[in-house]
Symmetry: C2
Subunit: 556 residues, 2 copies
Amino acid sequence: MNAPVSPGAWSQRAARRQRRLERASALARGKRVEAGQLVALLEAVLEPEDRVCLEGNNQKQADFLARGLTQVDPQRVHDLHMVQSVLALPEHLDVFERGIARKLDFSFSGPQALRLAGLLARGQLQIGAIHTYLELFSRYFIDLTPQVSLIAAHSADAQGNLFTGPNTEDTPAIVEATAFSGGIVIAQVNEWVDTVPRVDVPAGWVDFIVQAPKPNVIEPLFTRDPAQISEVQVLMAMMAIKGIYAEYGVQRLNHGIGFDTAAIELLLPTYAESLGLKGKICQHWALNPHPALIPAIEAGWVQSIHSFGSELGMEDYIRARSDVFFTGPDGSLRSHRAFCQAAGHYACDLFIGSTLQMDLAGNSSTATAGRIAGFGGAPNMGADARGRRHASPAWLKAGEQARQGLPGARGTPRGQKLVVQMVETFREHMQPAFVEHLDAWRLAEQAGMDLPPIMIYGEDVTHVLTEEGLANLLLCRTDEEREQAIRGVAGYTPVGLARDARMVENLRDRGIIQRPADLGVDPRDATRNLLAARSVRDLVRASGGLYRPPTRFRNW
Amino acid sequence: MNAPVSPGAWSQRAARRQRRLERASALARGKRVEAGQLVALLEAVLEPEDRVCLEGNNQKQADFLARGLTQVDPQRVHDLHMVQSVLALPEHLDVFERGIARKLDFSFSGPQALRLAGLLARGQLQIGAIHTYLELFSRYFIDLTPQVSLIAAHSADAQGNLFTGPNTEDTPAIVEATAFSGGIVIAQVNEWVDTVPRVDVPAGWVDFIVQAPKPNVIEPLFTRDPAQISEVQVLMAMMAIKGIYAEYGVQRLNHGIGFDTAAIELLLPTYAESLGLKGKICQHWALNPHPALIPAIEAGWVQSIHSFGSELGMEDYIRARSDVFFTGPDGSLRSHRAFCQAAGHYACDLFIGSTLQMDLAGNSSTATAGRIAGFGGAPNMGADARGRRHASPAWLKAGEQARQGLPGARGTPRGQKLVVQMVETFREHMQPAFVEHLDAWRLAEQAGMDLPPIMIYGEDVTHVLTEEGLANLLLCRTDEEREQAIRGVAGYTPVGLARDARMVENLRDRGIIQRPADLGVDPRDATRNLLAARSVRDLVRASGGLYRPPTRFRNW
């Protein structure tokens, strides 16, 4: 694999590209390939051991190409090395089961996590590494450059220019790496059109285009029904707003996916407004178009949102709110996961997300035994950006708290990103969120990983927020303080019950632990009435009918 | 500035764009504007307080547009907020002197550093912040989105598709942020053509195009004449190869600009080859096309290079070595600073660069009093990527050395990037490279900065390499050890002379400090004869005549 290049032969890549194109030439008119010819095209283009990016995004899927890939003859096409961010469809694993692919480098496998672990255990698949999104895209330009990419777009014109629609997502990063390294780009589109609404991918970067029989699969992953937000979540959201957002003056941020952060979004035009925080927090976002943010947008809270991907049903709303979203001249969203991840990493002051388990050092993980779920974008968002040099009040204050009084290199002044883990002390089925040892350690052993799959490292976490209180880890000066700060908000979990009560009280006196009352939050005020929308229908109403939720979210 | 959005008016941005286009419409035929109309176009399009990105790259400059901008009427266009990565041309500061622009957010101002400090001191300019490149691009999508961008390309076709040529550099990031946020993109090109060799920027993303009277300025910043490499630099390069590259098995890396790293590049096919390291180190690079890397490429050392920008004179060589470089279907380089910076951050295991000053905590800076030079890409490359999750042997080993025996959060296993500072103990005019206090502190005070402009933080530095030896800071366990490790390689500088000799010997016994002899490097072998090329002419010869250096580098 790491054999030195043999000097002298310098256009092997171009020659290989030429051979692929020649083998495929009979199957295409120009770039155009009929759907019935897809399998033949793939067999003509692909060679054993190719690195292949089958566009699996967080939302949009090149599902027709995925199905086609499962149908190639494993005698001809085998030992592929798949390099794709998301494993969402069964087909993404079928290629391993059928002996077409062998090695996998990826970022997230949510829906396929269980089956992935099974394939690995049975030796039908070999994992290179699990990445965060931007990290995998970065390797596309260094040592995981795809030789063939199979991407999804909305439409194509006769020249081959592609319109991705609102879900551009990973496409630019994939195409850039493949088209400019002598690779082959094959796109599936929903339709051929005379003129694309806008060019998302220029024709010259694409080799073959096939119209799929059905529009590509897109999942509305970022829609949270406000009806399911609990009053505990309202309480935690109040504490987040008062204890963190207001305290640090957070203007630029990213929210994870989940009901906890949806609650925060829905409290901005109500609770946060009552605190006089409008204009002082939450103006700039790296975020998918969360429907839960509609009331805040409508109330004038939000100046800008740049998005990784889009969200089904939000198309008309986005078009009508183009002052806030990044849109093309056609009015539809232009998302871009690579740039949005970079923005989340370098231009946001706060990430707030949730986790399944946290240990006493503050390390957290969503890994559970027998499931290899991957990381998605959280580690990139939830890590201090050590290369950052521009200051903001929030970043400076966090850095100052972390470094005050420390000597030497660790004491050199520098800002720090706010990384908040927001968890109820018990998750569903009464599983404690706080544990002595993460399941990640066991999974690492099972799956032969170099390191346990930790989502957010304790070193990077600045605050832990539960219904019991808010722990500011920035202010802890010893491992013991840190441990007790975590125990001190871990409620009735075994970890919480084992706290040193005296030390926890001391931490509270020092403001390292804050209870709701310390923050001036009265739990009796934490009712669902505070939510700016209490149902999907409310969100639709708030949007003036512009938001059109997918059927599964409609019950009226 | 942070005034809340007033609800109700949701297409202000689109309306503003429309007004700008209407005011400019009489000046353009389609997108085409004559050079003589440029100033009128800028006056028509620009509005006071606009955020403007005037494409100043590391190499390529939109110089004609820059000149035009200095000529607009400050009564009409004033208080612009410039958001551009590099201040390279006098015009980039003239706009402040002339009252056209007022605020500046940037990354690097090398050639204008002195004048920039003067303007700041006289209150003619206000600095928002100094960024690393990727960080500034990231803010383009969050809170520094340009309303107008003035970019440089090589050619345009009648539709308005742009070909940037090998120096794509910042263009994709700038255009993406501007074109998809209702902004205006104005491009200067060297020529109009029937068909662009390839589309680097689709026509739909560009509003106006003007042909400049002269081709845009490009600087060959990455050419180092091997004739100027000293034997001390050869010695240090040998130590880097043996003590770091071989020791950690570094396959993916980025080199800073300078003679120190050029020496390493020129020792790969000679010294490193003699150590049997071919194929074991240095196969994948995030790097501009350094001419000094030609001999290593020719000897088959290099598998891939992805580039931030290009380098003058390397065009034909790149075209003929397309297996190694990222090129378009036209055969010329496709560079991309944003993706390459991401790749350097997330997909490289080592950054090695130089500095002007280092303190006892290992913090280093190129800042000197009275000059505001900025950061460029170094802080991004020279920082541990805390969001990284994929493993490599080099990264794992560095992480293990750093964390061995540490308790709690700091001891949780995780990899670490190798960040090497390579400096001679004295730089020119016998200025010591090691100091008790960085000049950066004084500059911060002078210029009213929130933090001293530290290029690489001591917390992120893993190795310090001088002609006296190699200090491995990963293995230090206390601030005192770290300080003595630095003093122990600081030679005859006052910092070096103040070492605790006994402690330094102890660090040497523990392998934390290694002298050349400890590494098996004999200084007597460190002659210029080891360099695979000893002159620019040698580089040309090694390239088979494909490399055509600019005149200033030719003395034959």
